[in-house]
Symmetry: C2
Subunit: 743 residues, 2 copies
């Protein structure tokens, strides 16, 4: 499960995200592949061009409805900034995945009242709980192409570093202009910088928790079943969007009132059934189907194995800690779930790329492109130098990848005290600049987010977790090869290449003792106050975390500078690479996912994952009973067991499937999704919500790199399982009435 956690926290790619190297290389790559089966995370405006395909799949509606972001159903589709969701009532009720509301559950949990375990239901609006700072709902209201504004008349003679600045400047100007009307504006690049689009979004800032089933339903199967089929997870939960009484998107305030969306989805009590055409509208995070082979190869041979190794270790470290301390357990729970999810997905991708042969297939694809270029003198002249130049950039980056990864882990570790110090310190350097000159992450438009993040951090910050995880990172620093040493850390800790492991261990322990007792950044008030302090004032605090951050700052800047230069080169080479691919290929192709709104469609359909095996397209309550044990993650709530017994004893429910003679739980479809799609509405041909997308399949998660049109499936929770659980298990009749229009 848990698409969302492998996606970026940003609601959509800012310029920095767009300029990240991996994305810069995202290009249109269709080569010898026809537009097959159900591949395609389409931009909404591409859907009308797919009319004939949709008609062939039995769609009787108007495809142009999907291109109208302010109409029905697209007006109901929202982003949570790292997950997808949709309005399901005129009073701003939002449905998404259970695993997308973990942060809100964690924020409102205490050791005595663990909402992540027991779930939550507000029986009245007054009982709805604020999600905490930083929780957002984004409603995309406009998309327009701005390629000419970004790339028009760009001097071809610019150095790569200067080109980066030129593009960044234009993006900032356009963003500033776009935000004057009060919307959040984002400029994103597509097809490797060949095309650029501007997105306008309403940003709702007061979001409240309404209902989440207990973990025994919402996370039934847990990590054991994560990414697996057959699946029986009730991965759904509800938020409500609040605005000021005047209808403005403002921060949390008691007097705020539910937001009234122009459009909301009808939840179908008929769910989704085998053979049905279904649409998924949401915010997929990142795919790399169109990157050069060498980039994928590096990911498979270095990046993913590294992730598997480090995640495995980090999980073991945090689980041990969690067993020892209940409060720490709550603080690290979301991080643990994220690490587990990333671990399983990484294993799945590796499995698909290597055993599944997708890496070899990717290589063959690129060889066909190279052959196409080589076969024609004009192609050779136009594109012959592009791939070698891109490959050289990838090789260059690899030279310091171990060092750079560890530096990022130490300075910017999510949820760590050093991450907080780095934000505060960099903010003190960027703040005095003019807004146009600031690093995009620290521009004024992001200041309230920065503050909220430091506030919200209090729920996950934990000195014990910092100690063990930093120790783990520094142990790797101690082992860096001579060519990639981090001199500052060697000096500060007293490390050297010829040191024994035991000695390094001792030195790191001593260093961490000093570092973690010498900082005030575990205190929320200190962090927030420091966001107003100058660099000099921060340094005068004699805070150990700030001192280390300052000492590492020059190296971090050097790494950022190098990355900007490579990105500038990417802006130069990327569009030409895309040009080669476009010229070789043809037909309508969906761009790689980049966190922007997409629509994908397909069919409810089982699959043969392996020889001799068939995954049926639906699961039922029967399977919940089969899997249930007395312990997590297969511990079904008593109330659910009673409800199932009542059902078996003949209690009537409108959510019973007449074919299955049971309540459907999850279903498979051929739609094309990835991390970030979690919580996406699954719609039928009438635009009704028939389910929620919540996961991909272990065997085909490598589709992020090359789509397997035969075996790729996404996993959804059936709307009937939501409705039945609300009606029969959790007594959420108030919400049922609201959803079904009875109040």
């Amino acid at each position: 499960m848990n698409h969302q956690r492998s996606s970026p926290k940003r609601p959509m790619p800012s310029l920095r995200a767009a300029s990240a190297f991996i994305c810069v290389l995202c290009v249109l790559f269709a080569t010898a592949r026809p537009v097959t089966a159900d591949e395609g995370m389409w931009m909404p405006q591409q859907i009308p061009a797919l009319t004939s395909k949709l008609k062939s799949m039995g769609f009787a509606g108007d495809p142009s409805a999907f291109a109208d972001l302010t109409g029905d159903p697209m007006g109901a589709i929202v982003s949570l900034g790292g997950g997808s969701a949709s309005f399901v009532s005129p009073a701003g009720l939002i449905v998404t995945n259970h695993h997308c509301v973990q942060g809100a559950l964690q924020y409102n949990s205490t050791p005595d009242r663990n909402l992540m375990e027991q779930g939550f239901l507000a029986k009245t609006r007054a009982e709805e709980l604020w999600n905490g700072p930083g929780s957002r709902v984004f409603v995309t209201v406009s998309v327009r192409e701005v390629t000419a504004d970004i790339l028009g008349k760009l001097d071809p003679g610019l150095s790569d570093r200067a080109r980066f600045d030129a593009v960044e400047k234009r993006v900032k100007e356009l963003t500033a202009a776009g935000e004057q009307g009060g919307l959040r504006c984002t400029i994103a690049s597509f097809f490797e910088g060949m095309k650029w689009f501007e997105f306008g979004q309403m940003e709702i800032q007061d979001v409240r928790l309404v209902y989440a089933p207990p973990a025994g339903i919402g996370n039934f199967g847990g990590e054991v079943d994560n990414w697996q089929w057959p699946r029986h997870t009730g991965d759904f939960a509800f938020y409500r969007a609040y605005v000021s009484p005047a209808g403005k998107a403002v921060g949390y305030a008691k007097e705020n009132v539910p937001y009234k969306p122009k459009h909301w989805l009808r939840v179908s009590p008929k769910g989704a059934n085998p053979g049905d055409l279904v649409f998924v509208a949401g915010y997929p995070g990142r795919t790399a189907r169109l990157t050069p082979y060498s980039e994928v190869k590096q990911t498979v041979e270095w990046g993913l194995p590294r992730t598997v190794e480090r995640n495995t270790d980090q999980i073991a470290i945090l689980e041990k800690l969690s067993q020892e301390d209940k409060e720490t357990a709550i603080r690290v729970s979301t991080r643990l779930r994220g690490l587990n999810n990333s671990l399983t997905k990484s294993k799945g991708v590796l499995n698909g790329m290597i055993q599944g042969g997708l890496l070899a297939a990717r290589k063959a694809q690129e060889q066909s492109l190279l052959a196409w270029i080589d076969a024609n003198p004009k192609h050779k002249a136009d594109y012959g130098d592009v791939l070698p130049a891109l490959n050289a950039l990838i090789t260059d980056r690899a030279r310091t990848r171990e060092r750079d990864s560890l530096l990022a882990e130490i300075c910017g570790g999510k949820g760590s005290v050093m991450g907080a110090a780095q934000t505060v310190y960099r903010f003190s350097i960027e703040r005095p600049k003019s807004d146009a000159d600031r690093d995009p992450a620290f521009q004024q438009r992001n200041w309230s987010r920065i503050r909220e993040a430091q506030d919200r951090l209090q729920r996950s910050l934990d000195v014990k977790a910092d100690r063990v995880l930093m120790k783990y990172s520094l142990a790797a620093v101690a082992k860096l090869p001579a060519s990639q040493r981090i001199d500052i850390l060697d000096k500060e800790i007293g490390l050297s290449t010829e040191m024994s492991e035991a000695d390094a261990d001792k030195a790191i322990d001593a260093f961490l003792r000093k570092l973690l007792t010498g900082t005030q950044f575990y205190q929320k008030d200190v962090r927030l106050a420091c966001l107003d302090r100058s660099t000099a004032d921060l340094l005068a605090m004699n805070d150990t975390a700030i001192e280390l951050t300052a000492a590492l700052y020059p190296l971090a800047e050097e790494v950022r500078e190098k990355s900007k230069e490579r990105s500038g080169a990417g802006y130069r080479l990327g569009p030409r690479f895309a040009g080669a691919l476009l010229a070789q290929s043809g037909g309508l192709v969906a761009p790689d996912a980049n966190g922007t709104l997409r629509v994908t469609f397909g069919q409810v359909l089982g699959v043969a994952p392996r020889d001799g095996l068939w995954f049926l397209p639906q699961t039922t309550l029967q399977g919940v009973v089969e899997k249930a044990t007395s312990t997590s993650p297969f511990k079904m709530p008593e109330a659910q067991l009673s409800a199932i017994k009542a059902l078996r004893a003949g209690k009537m429910t409108p959510y019973l499937d007449p074919v299955l003679n049971d309540v459907p739980v999850n279903f498979l479809s051929t739609v094309d999704t990835t991390g970030g799609n979690s919580g996406s509405a699954t719609l039928n041909s009438k635009g009704e919500l028939v389910g929620l997308l919540f996961d991909g399949m272990f065997g085909t998660v490598a589709s992020d790199y090359l789509f397997d049109p035969v075996r790729t499936r996404s996993i959804h929770v059936d709307a009937r399982y939501l409705l039945w659980t609300m009606a029969e298990v959790d007594g959420a009749t108030n919400l049922l009435d609201e959803i079904e229009g009875r109040r």
Copy 2:
């Protein structure tokens, strides 16, 4: 896989097997269950009564053919004494499972030439390898009911102990009379001693290894896939039966000639296909569907968990040893495979009985019988005391079960030096008696087997294995509760209840050092010579193994006496319990498996093992490729990879399935089988061999205790996989020609 290993080594139950307590309690138990689906390991003579059911399943042949043991196809069905097989050529060629020929492969292996790994193919008859002493082929030629001879005019006033002797005496007399014509005769009890039958078998003693594919085919998937689906195991191998030039069943001799069976099976190049009606004829070992609930409960709560624990430990012990020593590895390989198989099956049975709810269902069944008895004064008078009396016997036996199990492990451990000493010592005590007075296991008819077993033992006997396994057993002896101490061992080893584990450990080590260096029984010649010595001569050898055996003999005799008394009680109570069940039920019911020839039939059919999952009924070469890795047990031979490549490149083969467009490998059917059925011919309606039964499914192995008519499946290898492998992979063209009648 590996039905055979959980079945007894005997070809069919001797009186001793039949009188074993668990079997004495086997009764007809049909209660509220109708004769459903495909349950039923039918006695061949029952098949004609099933004509209407067979016709409803589309059978157009003559059901009475199955009752004619000397006709076609039953004349071709043979037992290997612990596994099933069938003749497939007029020159005595026999097909069975790869896992049934492990002993022969082991016997002919050396550290430099491991046939278990590399397989074996005799390109000419001269190259065929003798399986070694003790390998047998049994051809059942007659069955007749002898209930009146065994039970007629048995004095109801006899004590239980005397009743046991009376029945044993009649069985011995009948056996002796039956064997005068040269056949092997066995008397077996059915329906809890309510019925008795006499079986006449020809016993072929010179059996030779003809062909076994390499482990990469024959044991593809190994323990990982054992009992699992989807399955891709080429579990087949070939023997040939030899007789004297005059046609007599004699021991191995170079001048022996292939046996000419009157009937042999045609191997169908069409295999088995979904929906086909299939028959399996073979020798299922043991089921307990008709035993009292308390017996099953004890098995589930004590016996199986004990097996799981001890097998797990013993496997770990032997695997460690195998890694250290290549020669030991070969010696313990068959034992290891057996332990692994037993472990997995025990886990599967436990899973089905507990999670699958079969134990509760068994309890409910018995409660319905009790209610039926209670509801009617006549039933109450006739049967009211039976179950309480049977339960008392079970409770009585449980009192010393830990001690008795460990005593059996130490004295009679299969393949151990102590097992050899016990055989030799008991033989010296039984031999001087008149044949009629001897324990059945030591009657003259078994002398050549006893000798052969001591000869064959040399291939598996290993002092290192004995040391670690005996140490493991004795550590448990040291921990026996005060009420079950084995005084002799306490004294010999110097153990006591209040001893620390470390002290016990030291004492056991010292004891084993003395025991294992002080015996000559690791030498084959000594063992064979000792079979002719008197008890006094044996004792005069001052052999430590004999001394320990002699010291333990009185206790072992006491245990045997107690068991005989309980069996005698079983002869008294069993038929009455069966009577109750018969009276409550009705209709034709198959008796529990007891190692005698049975026929079961069903359909080639997939199954939904769990919610959301469907097991397709067939697997193909595609799945072999999907599973293949570079290491055992998924290492496919190079020659197979080449053959698959050639097939994919368009090479024609008559064994390609036109629907699957691939060569089928394994298939599922609804037939009812258990351990001992391994190697059984799977026949189509024309009596042609379409596959070989080789395994059950993990999820439904608990069918040994209660048949699940919905989900139970057996696993077969498709005849086309045999033929394709012979033709395209292993070059066994000589055998193909023989099978297909070309020579």
